[in-house]
Amino acid sequence: MTASQIIFYIISAFILGTGILSVTTRKIFRAAIWLLFSLIGVAALYFWMEVEFIAAVQIIVYVGGIVVLIIFSIFLTQQSGKKMPNPPMVRTITGLLAVLSGFTFTYLLIYQYGFSSTGKSFDYDVRKIGSQMLGTGERGYALPFEVVSILLLAAMVGCIVIALKAAPSGPSPKGKATDTQQPTNLKN
């Protein structure tokens, strides 16, 4: 066993262990922290596969963005020290059965097909990614790039509209701005 293989198995065990802890722990804040470790493990797997650009994007977007967003929403919506109730036994058992059978079937398919590596070296270059991402010719990804940018704009506008505090219905008799009424709304 070479060092590369040992590192791979350590990273895999880390990803799967922290993933299992993240979906089974009963404290929601700890679940978020275990998720953070699992995502860092996935980034380490990308580093192991020598796709450094994807690993950097994974750390920036997932670890620095999504997990922080999740932690903020936990702080905004509930007491982080409170334990969540255990799921009912029936749900746990049926969930485990469904997941284990699904995993067995899927991995059996993968194992029987036996993907064999081509052995060629992966010529991976950030400059190539950039020129192909904005290319309009053959295998250019300019159109999906534009579509995703429109989607991000729509998501941003949608977040602002959804999370905006609803204005009190009807014209307020005093004619005051809604800002002065917000503290009383928060107390209710």
Binding site: V23, V42, Y62
Partner: protein, 102 residues
């Protein structure tokens, strides 16, 4: 040299760990975390297939980048909806959200 099926084992296991969380949890934020695990397993698959099976192309890398982008947008919108739901229902349990309009 690690066989490709061992890396696919990791991504498959991560996918079904996320499915287990989605089945057993009833809290919306933890369900969102499970969805993030599932999306990550898909990303691992794309990168592995690109690197080991089609090393002369870059399509898997692009799909991974787009999935990460869409996951970020999805998480932001989902958390906005969860916070809005918490304001009206004082709970983010999916069992308590039985009506679409409050």
């Amino acid at each position: 040299m690690i066989p490709v099926s061992h890396i696919l084992f990791v991504s498959t296991a991560l996918f079904f760990i996320g499915m287990y969380g989605l089945f057993t949890r009833r809290n919306m934020i933890t369900m969102l975390m499970s969805i993030e695990l599932i999306l990550n397993s898909v990303n691992i698959n794309f990168v592995v297939f690109n690197k080991y099976l089609w090393p002369d192309k870059l399509d898997g890398i692009f799909f991974t980048i787009f999935i990460i982008t869409i996951a970020a947008a999805e998480a932001a919108v989902a958390i906005a909806i969860i916070i809005n739901l918490y304001r009206s229902h004082k709970s983010i349990d999916v069992e308590d959200a039985t009506e679409m309009k409050y």
